[in-house]
């Protein structure tokens, strides 16, 4: 053995790269992705009994120069709706709403999504960087505890 590192990921990227991870996480968790917020929110009004929970990805930054207008992605699964967007401070924010769901349930859904989003983002970024350094993938698997394990190798003179 040589070195073991434990790292806490920081999501700093342009919106398109984050959007790719959002789509991947949504797919993994069974959420439908809506191309525009207008499409998902059309005809939807804030009904009585609808709870809302917001979660910031503390270690995240959506690069400002990549920000276009109305950059948000809306995801739905049953009666739960997640809106992923850049907040005023430049952080990535997930807002969960849903009629008939308590705040704790919505918070859990938002947290589960942010974790999956982080996992997808790190996977995409790491694979891109490893390939740029000529690493070859020896093995790749998803373990029982839902971790993604990647084994790569390269030969050096």
């Amino acid at each position: 053995m040589s070195t073991v590192l434990i790292l806490a990921p920081v999501i700093v990227s342009s919106w398109p790269a984050i959007a790719v991870a959002v789509t991947g996480a949504a797919s993994a968790l069974g959420f439908a992705v809506h191309k525009t917020a207008q499409e998902a929110l059309a005809g939807v009004e804030q009904e009585q009994g609808t709870q809302t929970v917001e979660i910031d990805l503390a270690e995240s930054q959506v690069l400002a120069q990549s920000l276009a207008t109305n950059q948000q992605i809306v995801l739905t699964k049953g009666s739960i709706r997640l809106v992923v967007e850049r907040d005023a401070r430049g952080r990535c924010k997930v807002c969960a709403t849903g009629k008939g769901h308590g705040k704790a349930e919505l918070k859990q859904a938002a947290e589960e999504f942010t974790q999956k989003l982080t996992q997808c983002f790190v996977y995409n970024k790491v694979m891109k960087e490893l390939k740029s350094k000529s690493f070859q993938v020896v093995n790749e698997e998803v373990t029982q505890d839902e971790s993604i394990r990647i084994h790569v190798r390269r030969w050096v003179d």
Binding site: V4, L5, L7, L130, K133, D145, V152
Partner: protein
Amino acid sequence: MAQHDVEISITKTGEVKVHIEGAKGKACLEYAKWLTKVIGKVKDQQMTREYYEPETKARINLQQNLKVEDDST
């Protein structure tokens, strides 16, 4: 040629465990620095025995020297 292996485990919560094998000394540190830059912040780092071993070339020389000494005794 030296074989450098990297095992990366991305947990369900997004935490990342990186295990660098085969690279010694400075090369190992360079991998660690690069992956930290790519992924985020270091929560913990453990240098294992191999990190402190000399580079491959130096180790072979050392083994050769030891062999000469053994032969002469």
